[in-house]
Amino acid sequence: MTQGSPVHEPYTEASQQHEANMLGMFIFLGTEIMLFGGLFAAIMVYRIEHREQLIEASKRLYLWIGTANTVILLTSSLLVALAVQASRAGSRRVGATLLVASACMGVGFLGLKGIEYAKEWQEGLLPLTGVRHAFSGPVQELFMGLYLAATGLHAVHLTIGIALMVGLSWRVGRGSLRLPQKALTVELCGLYWHLVDIIWIFLFPALYLVR
């Protein structure tokens, strides 16, 4: 909650202000969910239309990298949840450390994703222009196109999340973001981070675990 945070116009009480803040953030997150929802709908249609070939295409992805990346993101969400608690308790140093640690896990995720892209690029499985292609057929090419679009869009979101976490950590560490009065800022950025994690939680089975 927003204990200690001053109540601004037009709100009359802290709980009302808190609810308005959360409502705004969750509606924004809803637009993000809908953005990815279109991609998930496309994956679903492919799966209904070309089940057998999609299973073959999915088996070519690096399951261990996808699984390792899921572990990384789940752990980063734990760190962010703890950082929010630390901010509410007013522990500046713990909060800043946890935020920067979660940003580092995000960078680790992107690093592994980069290795994965590089491997697929070498195998001719990334549908990019000017690259030698080695697709088994049009279905695999379409699947890899969706894979690239979905994971690429997710990586963009994660990059924004990393920038948010680094910026927050810097401000919390320096004391320019006063805690616990401004814990709400950490909380709202945390919500964004968790949502990026949740999107990956669905992308992982939709792409890697098609059997």
Binding site: M1, E19, M22, L23, F26, I27, L29, G30, T31, I33, M34, G37, G38, F40, A41, M44, V45, R47, I48, E49, L63, T67, T70, V71, L74, T75, S77, L78, V80, A81, L82, V84, Q85, A86, A89, S91, V94, E187, G190, L191, H194, L195, D197, I198, I201, F202, F204, P205, A206, Y208, L209, V210, R211
Partner: protein, 92 residues
Amino acid sequence: MARAQILQAILIWVLLLILLSLTVGASFLPLGRMNPVVSMGIALIKASLIFWFYMQLKKERGLVRLAALGAGAWLLILFLLVSSDVVTRGSF
């Protein structure tokens, strides 16, 4: 930081990792057409845990919970209409 809250966050993390190993394990079972039901079902449970505990929906009131779940309702409509088109195409 309250000890109980830290323990709860860690417990949720352990649960999430167990669910992840379950979903990866289940993908090696010959589930056939049940495969997406199982994997997406486990993903839904994981997302619910994060929404409820990490995103603190359990502490919010009805309006915020409704806003958080709203997108899910719209997605359901999207998936239902799209899949009903794809599944029945060519059969009429």
